[in-house]
């Protein structure tokens, strides 16, 4: 569907983008970790809003589900479980500031280079022919994850050429899954060893020997 007035699109884009940026800065400026998590939620939620605005509903819902729903709930849960005074209010030292500025600015540089590497970012004046995609993204993404590039199905060439274009995202998908599995196994291993670990004296006592022996 073509929105007749691009103003509305721009308005909401600036609104969501502004919210995301303001609260991202607020994450940096506050020292209370729970407030940080809250600001981060608002920032990530506004990012999801931008995805919805662009017609990428699946990505937007995924953003809400994984980042806002999953990660942050776990983060806050973890904070509440391990709530100690020095973790609730974080004080950053100057060395950490220098490090984080280096990491952050290099990441920003990388992103800017990548973004302006896209052709449509360098050309101006396209906003009058703005189209909002009709949301057929979920099916395409799902099919691409299992190895079918829907957007290349219409390549009218021979069968072999068509298949070569359709590598899909199966390999990255599997790599990420294996990575997650490794992380899970590692987490289970760490949790287990901590549960098995005992003080040496305690161990002896549990065997029924006296500590003095």
């Amino acid at each position: 569907m073509i929105l007749a007035a691009a103003d509305w699109y721009s308005f909401f884009f600036i609104l969501f983008g502004g919210i995301a940026c303001v609260f991202a800065v607020a994450v940096l400026l506050t020292s209370n970790i729970v407030r940080m998590a809250f600001y981060l939620t608002v920032s990530l939620g506004a990012t999801a809003g931008i995805f919805f605005l662009a017609g990428a509903e699946f990505v937007g819902a995924m953003q809400l589900m994984i980042y806002v729903g999953g990660t942050l709930v776990l983060l806050i849960f973890g904070v509440m479980l391990t709530a100690q005074a020095q973790f609730i209010t974080m004080r950053t030292r100057s060395g950490e500031w220098v490090l984080s500025v280096i990491v952050g600015s290099s990441l920003l540089f990388l992103l800017l280079v990548a973004a302006f590497g896209v052709d449509s970012w360098r050309t101006r004046g396209q906003s009058d022919s703005l189209t909002v995609a009709d949301a057929q993204t979920a099916t395409a993404i799902g099919a691409a994850l299992s190895g079918v590039r829907v957007d290349r199905l219409s390549v009218p060439a021979s069968e072999t050429q068509r298949l070569r274009g359709m590598s899909g995202y199966l390999l990255p998908f599997v790599v990420v899954s294996v990575h997650l599995l490794v992380v899970l196994v590692g987490a289970a291993y760490l949790a287990r060893t901590r549960a098995m670990w005992r003080e040496p004296g305690e161990q002896r006592r549990s065997r029924g020997e006296s500590p003095a022996s």
Binding site: L3, A4, A5, D7, W8, N32, V34, R35, F38, T41, E57, F58, A61, M62, L64, M65, V68, G69, G70, L72, V73, L74, I76, F77, M80, L81, D134, A135, Q136, T137, A138, T139, A143, S146, G147, V148, V150, L153, S154, P156, E159, R162, L163, M166
Partner: protein, 434 residues
């Protein structure tokens, strides 16, 4: 609706969109607010009757139907307290977070065929994602209150909701996979016709899956017997301890809103949504045919009846939740976790596998008893790959569609999708060729 305003009434574009957005969000807000008023009254009546009492009788006549409104006025008049130890900002914001999550999820919930504020292609996923945010408000409230009761309540809530999202997700995926779409409108339309077409009667496994879904939904909206976060016999009032006045009532609007939401989702996923047990409007020829978009009065009436039907089913679901609340005692936290991990997850998984095997093997199901005449499920089935009409004559997609139909005759014909007539869809099976 925006298109209707812009083209039929001649309102300029942005204004039409604004008007449509205002009307739709206003309708949903009204539904959530009035729903909460009604359900709180109903809860009192149901609990009263179950405990052999009368419930409210005085305010507003014989059935005490104005009781909630009187309480609302009382709550507005209460002082808005913030405890000394509270984190002021988060304490004030938390009720709105909960309410906004519950309310936003309604955007994607269709109330009748095509009566939906935002016809998302991934409505199911959206609703699950947004409902998961409701717990965030509860956790914030518990942390920010600066009270040990609130903190305990919030920790229980977090543990419980994070655990129950797993079986809930597994149960929701079953109808999605049977229908082949995450679009709730399409899922509802696929169950049109006799009540035998409802997905709960698809096979024994979906029947089991529905009850697992209902249990997990009870737990995820924090209702008794899973209301550990506000267990008043142990934790004063859990995360609500420090709240008063209107902020407190926001939490309750969120709770009753999500109760209606999960019931409505159950009605669409398992109970045919807006389709009645008997296809009266299809006999009369009033209902919209799949792909029909022109407005006509009979179709509007059919949709209105469907909306009434849907809300009746959802309210019935909420009533069952109340019945459960006033019948069963509260579980302990370890029992809640056992329930989730030892019963709901395995049952859900077995049901998931069984239902999919049933569907894939094409065994007999009551859904085949009386398939709806105009095309049945093949018409509304969302298909994988969009194919333009010119591609249908192209040999490659044609053979692909041919293979697909040989494998699964249910979805053979290229059919017009319900709402996007411009695109002709065909179930192509590129995946199997690789």
């Amino acid at each position: 609706m925006a298109v209707f305003f812009a083209h039929t009434l001649g309102i300029p574009g942005p204004l039409a969109y604004l008007l449509a957005a205002l009307i739709q969000s206003g309708l949903i807000l009204g539904l959530v607010a009035i729903g909460a008023l009604f359900f709180i009254w109903l809860e009192r009546k149901v609990s009263g009757r179950i405990q052999d009492r009368l419930g409210p009788t005085r305010v507003g006549g014989r059935f005490g139907w104005l009781q909630t409104l009187a309480d609302g006025i009382k709550l507005i008049g209460k002082e808005d307290l913030t405890p000394k130890d509270a984190d002021g900002l988060l304490f004030r914001v938390a009720p709105y977070v909960s309410f906004a999550a519950s309310y936003t999820a309604y955007l994607a919930l269709p109330f009748s065929n095509g009566w939906v504020a935002l016809d998302l292609n991934i409505a199911v996923f959206f609703i699950v994602a947004v409902l998961g945010l409701e717990v965030f408000g509860v956790i914030l409230a518990g942390y920010a209150s600066g009270s040990k009761w609130s903190l305990f309540g919030a920790m229980r809530e977090a543990a419980q909701v994070v655990s129950y999202e797993v079986p809930l997700g597994i149960c929701i995926v079953v109808p999605v996979l049977i229908c082949g779409t995450m679009n709730l409108t399409t899922i509802g339309n696929m169950q049109a016709g006799w009540f035998t077409n409802w997905l709960i009667f698809h096979d024994p496994f979906t029947f089991v899956v529905f009850w697992v879904y209902f249990t997990c939904a009870l737990a995820s909206v924090n209702r008794a017997p899973f209301d550990l976060a506000e267990a008043e016999s142990e934790l004063v009032a859990g995360f609500l301890t420090e709240y008063s006045g209107l902020r407190w009532s926001y939490f309750f609007m969120a709770e009753y809103g999500s109760m209606l939401l999960v019931s409505g989702l159950a009605a669409i996923l398992f109970f045919g949504g807006w389709n009645g047990p008997v296809p009266i409007f299809h006999w009369l020829g009033w209902a919209y045919e799949p792909g029909e978009t022109a407005w006509h009065l009979t179709g509007f009436l059919a949709n209105l009846a469907g909306c009434v039907n849907f809300i009746a089913k959802a309210v019935l679901g909420v009533t069952v939740m109340m019945w459960v609340r006033w019948t069963l005692p509260r579980l302990r936290i370890d029992q809640v976790m056992t329930m989730c991990l030892k019963y709901c997850v395995p049952l859900g998984t077995v049901g998931f596998l069984g239902a999919l095997t049933w569907q894939a093997a094409g065994w007999w199901s009551p859904n085949d008893l009386a398939p709806l005449a105009p095309g049945g499920s093949a018409v509304v089935r969302e298909t994988w790959v969009p194919v333009t009409p010119s591609d249908l004559t192209d040999p490659v997609p044609a053979t692909a569609a041919g293979e697909g139909s040989a494998r699964e005759p249910q979805a053979e014909a290229a059919a017009v999708d319900t709402h996007r007539q411009a695109t002709v869809w065909s179930r192509s099976t590129g995946g199997e060729q690789l």
